[in-house]
């Protein structure tokens, strides 16, 4: 066994070397036991097939994290308010809540939202063009698009969009706010959502908060305490990640001229596969060092389970590293290449199984629209400086992407 194959997690190295290491580690074993900075040991899975097997197996649950029986093994202390959300619920309660939200962001609903996303993307481009021939694509494009879509989905009235954006973006990695400001903004956002729920209970409209507030389950309606965490999860997960994915997609294309040239031949046709490739390849496209360690939220084994030859004992925690599984060299042979035409793209960035991302159809649609519209309108667009990245934050988002056209 060589040294490369044993080292996980690993500190930032060049993208090419990171891909090499991931391949070697996956060839060596399906998972590694890692001692996390918080919450003790957890298995981290490197192989796509092993990851799918785990994520599709109901013997892995999240309940002990939600009840506080166990600390979430993770790279940072896992925020309390996120531990109360849908992603830490198990069936059957999870199923009931999830179904209600699912309908509002199902593939069918999202298809109906596409036209408004296209219109909004174009109005953002109009504004950028009206201001001159340069822009910061994070603040002028990648961030406002998902925020607008989220406001529409939740039912935030148009006159409140600005306030909502300010509060919601304080939860964002890119905001760079002080701890106190974040807490104050979060409290305001909470109160706002509580009031919105009450308003929509009295005066329902055709939006998600209304349908949650007025959903009649067989036995009961949902309480505010049940609706609030769902709304907060959508706020937090709904645009920080999407904005980050959009920015990564734009930056990746701008940094791969041959792929961009190809994309420009048919932006609408290639947007779906370019989106999947962005989700898979992630930070590997940006030409910056990549560290081996990123991971989705863990599960706990309720009994001894063998996965891909490795015994996971009852009570042990386990998670997947989507960066590793996307570069395991087994599911995908030439994983280091950024290829927007890839048809077989088994990425797990949006997870898989019971907890696969509820907003996946919406996130995908927004990414597709954002990429296609920007490059259709401004095909000559190019970067004026290297992307600015916030390395202090767990998700290491791109906080500035300066471009000209």
């Amino acid at each position: 066994m060589n040294q490369i194959a044993t080292d996980y997690p690993f500190a930032p190295v060049s993208a090419a070397e990171a891909a090499e290491r991931y391949r070697a580690i996956a060839a060596d074993r399906p998972m590694t036991k890692v001692t996390m900075p918080f919450g003790g040991d957890a298995w981290v899975i490197h192989r796509t097939e092993a990851a799918r097997a785990m994520l599709g197996d109901p013997r892995f649950v999240r309940e002990p994290f939600r009840t506080g029986e166990r600390v979430v093994p993770y790279f940072v202390e896992f925020p309390e308010f996120l531990r109360q959300t849908l992603q830490f619920e198990d069936p059957p309660h999870h199923t009931k809540l999830r179904r209600l939200v699912q309908k509002a962001i199902s593939p069918k609903q999202v298809r109906a939202m596409r036209d408004s996303a296209v219109a909004y993307a174009n109005s953002l481009i109009d504004e950028m063009v009206a201001k001159g021939d340069t822009a910061d694509l994070v603040h002028d494009y990648a961030l406002p698009l998902p925020i607008q879509m989220l406001c529409n989905l939740l039912g935030v009235p148009p006159e409140d969009h600005d306030k909502f954006e300010k509060w919601a973006s304080s939860t964002l990695a890119v905001a760079g706010m002080s701890e106190d400001d974040v807490v104050a903004n979060m409290a305001e956002l909470y109160m706002y959502v509580v009031e919105l729920i009450q308003l929509r209970r009295r005066e329902p409209l055709d939006d998600l908060i209304s349908s949650l507030a007025n959903a009649r389950d067989k036995d009961d309606t949902l309480t505010d305490e049940e609706i609030l965490p769902i709304a907060m999860l959508l706020v937090v997960a709904g645009f920080d990640n999407t904005a980050n994915f959009i920015t990564t997609g734009i930056a990746s294309l701008l940094q791969h001229p041959a792929q961009l040239e190809l994309f420009l031949t048919d932006p609408d046709g290639l947007a779906p596969t370019a989106t999947e490739e962005t989700l898979r390849h992630g930070r590997f496209s940006l030409g910056i060092p990549v560290a081996g360690g990123g991971a989705l939220v863990p599960f706990v084994a309720t009994e001894d389970v063998e996965i891909d030859g490795q015994l996971v004992a009852e009570g042990e925690a386990i998670m997947i590293d989507p960066g590793a599984t996307a570069h395991d060299g087994i599911a995908l042979p030439d994983a280091e290449r950024f290829d927007i035409t890839r048809q077989n793209n088994p990425q797990l960035t949006l997870s898989y199984g019971l907890h696969h991302c509820l907003g996946a159809p919406l996130a995908r649609m927004e990414m597709q629209v954002a990429l296609a519209e920007l490059f259709k309108r401004l095909p000559q667009i190019r970067l004026t400086s290297t992307p600015v990245i916030n390395h202090d934050h767990l998700s290491q988002p791109i906080t500035r992407l300066d471009a000209t056209w």
Binding site: R52, L55, G56, T95, R98, R99, Q102, K103, S106, P107, K108, Q109, V110, R111, P272, Q343, N344, L350, Y352, G353, L354, H356, A360, P361, R364
Partner: protein
């Protein structure tokens, strides 16, 4: 061994040998049949495994349960009388013919 025949939106047909007891979704995903996504791994919460079932087997494959019926209203391509979520279609001894819809996501 039973076979599942997946007709793609362009009319091409992919035939895959299947094991009784497996679902039409799992069989497709395992064999890389395009157009069947199955993001939730068969837990009836993504509607990305939508297929149209051939008239000939509708009876043997039963009718959608309540939960499946609800999720069928969420599919990206239009729901039809023959619509099913393929993670709920369990393969028996005989062959199964399904058509993959144009859009899943």
């Amino acid at each position: 061994m039973p076979k599942v025949f997946y007709t793609q939106p362009d009319g091409t047909v992919v035939a895959v040998a299947a094991s009784p007891g497996d679902s039409v979704m799992a069989t497709a995903v395992r064999n890389g049949v395009s157009g069947v996504v199955g993001q939730c791994g068969g837990s009836l919460s993504c509607a990305t495994c939508h297929v149209y079932v051939d008239e000939a087997h509708r009876d043997e494959l039963g009718t959608p349960g309540e939960d499946e019926d609800e999720m069928l209203d969420c599919t990206a391509s239009d729901r039809e009388d023959s619509s099913r979520l393929s993670c709920q279609l369990i393969i028996g001894e005989g062959d199964v013919h399904v058509t993959v819809p144009p859009e899943q996501l």
